[in-house]
Structures are given as C-alpha cells and as structure tokens.
C-alpha cells in the first residue's frame, strides 16, 4: 500500500502546483481554442463536405479526427510541463530520492497528467461541439469512455517520454518527435472508435475498436511502466 500512497501524494503535489500557478492549464485552454479556430479557418466553417453529404459541413464530418489532433497537440504542452517544473526547481533529485518503487512515481505523474488532460478535454469537447454545431448529448457516455481510453494511451507514453527528455536542451523539439510515432496505433484506434460513436455504428464494430484501443493501452502501459525507472536515472 505504501507505493499507492506515494503515488497519491505525488498526484496531490502536482495538482496543487498546477492549481496555484495554472501555467499548464491556461496555456492549454488557449492553445486548444486556437486550434479549434484554425481548423475552422483552414477547412471553412460552412463548406458542405463532399464526402460528408446529407447536409453535414466538412468540420462536422471531420470532427472525430480534429478532436484527437487537438487533444494530442494540446496534451503535449501538459506533458512537457510536468517534468519541466521538476527540472526548474531541482525536483528531479527529490523524485529520484523518493523512497519505494519508481513505478509509484510513474503512476503518480501519469495520474496527474491524466487529470489535467481530462479537465482540458471536458472544456474542449463541449466547446468544439458548440462551435461546429454537433449534437452529442445522447452519445456522451460512449464518447467519454473512448476519450478516456485514448487519453490513457496518450498520457502513458507521453509521461514516459516527457521524463526521458526532461533534461535535454531541445526537449520541446524532441518530445513530439519521439512521442508521435509511438502514438500512431492509439490515434488510429481512438479516431476510429470516436467516428463510430458519433456517426453511428452500423456494422457493430465499436466494441471491437474499444477492445483494440484498450489492448494497445495495456501494452504501452506495461512497456512504459517496466522501463520508467531507467528513464529518470541521472
């Protein structure tokens, strides 16, 4: 139980720092809003989607993919922030000296990142639905499940790579370069599942894709948990 308490203490510490400074969250919220506007300018808010048909705009048709692009690009900010804070204040040393299993540090950092990411998503999803005029109310439970699974995969790999690149000079360049190739399976499965939720699941594929997404999460989580202790070594 000791490790669970240690992880929980780390989560509380990270959320407290974030609540007091709001540095990551404010940056993320503005960035996410900007991404939503840029999609709208780039794709045209009124353009009738050619592939979309049936009175849908292109933005409405592409929403599942755009949502995940926005989540991944915005989430990167939270991830790089999570270990940068430690580097700035010499917290990495303290983390390395933290008693118990290093997996507790990974679990704590991962949980804190997930909570910050989730808070951002809880704003991003309704705001984008309102801006792009999409009716999500009755699809919300399934959508939140898919978003939670996708975010778990993103944060699992992201926390690992954020720790690995924390003491690099070019960490802001290296984090996306290393992270995005590994996230390809997550984005494929997450976008597919989100599309099925939003557009309707005619072939009964949704459950399969949710299981695939869960399986990918499980594999990535296992690999990152096992190797994390080497990632924060000095």
């Amino acid at each position: 139980m000791g490790d669970a308490r240690r992880a929980l203490a780390l989560v509380r510490k990270d959320l407290l720092t974030e609540r007091r400074s709001k540095a990551a969250f404010n940056a993320m919220a503005f960035f996410a809003a900007m991404v939503l506007f840029i999609f709208s300018f780039a794709l045209g808010p009124d353009a009738p989607g050619m592939a979309a048909g049936s009175g849908q705009t292109l933005l409405q048709y592409l929403w599942p993919g755009l949502l995940w692009v926005a989540i991944f690009f915005t989430g990167i900010l939270a991830l790089s922030r999570s270990f940068q804070v430690e580097m700035e204040s010499g917290g990495m040393e303290a983390l390395r000296l933290y008693p118990g299993d290093k997996k507790a540090i990974y679990a704590g950092k991962l949980a804190a990142n997930l909570i910050i990411l989730g808070a951002m998503e809880l704003i991003l999803i309704p705001v984008s639905a309102i801006l792009y005029n999409i009716d999500l109310i009755d699809k919300l439970p399934a959508l939140l499940g898919v978003v939670a699974l996708g975010s778990l995969g993103f944060a699992a790999v992201g926390t690992f790579y954020a720790a690995l690149t924390a003491n690099l000079r070019a960490r802001d360049v290296m984090l996306p370069v290393l992270l995005f190739p590994v996230l390809v399976p997550v984005i494929v499965a997450a976008v597919k599942a989100t599309t099925l939720v939003v557009r309707g699941d005619l072939m009964g594929e949704l459950w399969t894709w949710i299981r695939i997404l869960g399986l990918i999460d499980l594999v990535l989580l296992t690999v990152c948990t096992l190797t994390f202790e080497f990632a924060i070594e000095e």
């Binding site: 070019a170 390809v184 690999v223 990632a231």
Partner: protein, 226 residues
C-alpha cells in the same frame, strides 16, 4: 580483432554476392510478364528489408543488453544497428515508391506495410536525432536504448492497428509462383544485403568505439583539470 576479421569476411562475401546477384538479376532473369523490366527493382527493394530487419533487430537486442549490463559496447552496437537499419529502411521506401508509381499508379499508399515501415524510419530517425542532442555519454546511451526498445516494441502494434484500420479498403496480394531464374538472384541479393549490413555494422561499431573512447578521454581530462 575477431569482429574486425568477421566483418571483413562478410564485406568480401557481400561484394561477390552483390556482383553475382545483380548480374543474374539484371541480365539472366527473364522479364516479368505484366510488369516487364520494372520488377527488377525488386532485387534491391526486397533485400533492403532484410538489411532493415537485421539493423533494427541488432539495435533492439543491443539496447536491452545495454540497459542490463551498462557496457558501452552495446551502445555502440545499438547505434550501428539503428544507423544501418535506417539506411536500408530509406532505400526500401525509395525503391518501393519508384516501383509503385508505374505499377500501382501512385508513389505512396496507406497500406499497412508501407505505413509501418515509414513509422519505423521516423522512430529510428528520432533515435539518431536524440543522440545528436545529448552530450553526456551515459545518459545518451541510456535514453537512446529506451527509445529503441519502446520504438521496436511498437512496430508490430502499428502494423496491426493500421491493418485493421484499412481492412475494408485494402485487397491482399496473393503469393505468386516465382520463376526459379528470378528466385536465385533474389536469394543471392538478400544474403548479400544481410552480409553488407553486418559488414557496415562492424565498421560502424569500430568507429563508435573510437569516438566513445575519445569522449571518455575528454571527460577524464576535464575531471583531472578540476
């Protein structure tokens, strides 16, 4: 030095096999019924993937060995494997695109194999970029090893996720019976590229060892000065 000698033997054997394989592949093997001479790029394209696999597999195994033993020898092998693997990977992608244009009508398509190999190239290019950004030999070796391990484990996941993603669109190609006059040059070229890869990796390891020892000497001098 046994690794040096082994590498030399591999290099000479690769040279002979390359000459034999290219000569028979270009001149002796018959034209393909539908593709004509275009198919001959396969004698370079397919063996490239043998070299890619050999390089990345070496990088993966050496990275695990480095994390376990912390012996710099394995870091040199990891770097050599990643570089040689990436070289063959890019060769394979370019020859594939050149073949795809006259045959499929497009340079690129989002087929699982194409996508996976492209992601592999990006992953290991990231590995090399990461190495370039890190100066401390120990933390560089450690971080690079972790990137190679996670990146390599990710390859099959990418393959299957893209395959399921594209199932409805992609028609699987069926295995065809191949003329023995085409098979033998191909086998010769595959073996030649494998040996070429081993030769290049042994050279790369020797170079990396020299650089590594030089770096260690610099560190020692700095410590001595303080």
């Amino acid at each position: 030095m046994t690794a040096d000698k082994f590498g030399k033997i591999c290099g000479i054997a690769a040279l002979v096999l390359l000459a034999v394989g290219l000569a028979t592949g270009m001149l002796v093997a018959p034209r393909e019924r539908i593709m004509g001479d275009v198919y001959r790029i396969m004698f370079v394209h397919f063996p490239s993937w043998v070299g890619t696999a050999a390089g990345y597999l070496t990088a993966f195994v050496a990275s695990i060995a480095y994390i376990k033993t912390r012996d710099f020898k394995w870091d040199y092998w990891g770097q050599a494997g990643a570089e040689v693997g990436l070289l063959f990977n890019v060769t394979g992608l370019i020859t594939g695109a050149l073949w795809g244009r006259p045959t499929w009508g497009v340079y690129w398509t989002w087929d699982p194999r194409l996508t996976t190999t492209a992601i592999m190239a990006i992953t290991f290019a990231g590995y090399l970029v990461l190495r370039a950004f890190m100066e401390d030999p120990e933390s560089r070796a450690r971080a690079a090893s972790l990137v190679a391990i996670v990146g390599f484990v990710n390859v099959p996941i990418v393959y299957f996720s893209v395959r399921w993603w594209r199932t409805l669109h992609q028609v699987q190609s069926s295995p065809e019976t191949v003329d023995p006059q085409m098979v033998w040059p191909l086998r010769a070229m595959m073996l030649a590229f494998l040996l070429l890869g081993v030769f290049m990796m042994t050279r790369r390891v020797m170079l990396a060892r020299l650089r590594g020892e030089e770096e260690m000497e610099m560190v020692r001098l700095e410590v001595a000065r303080d």
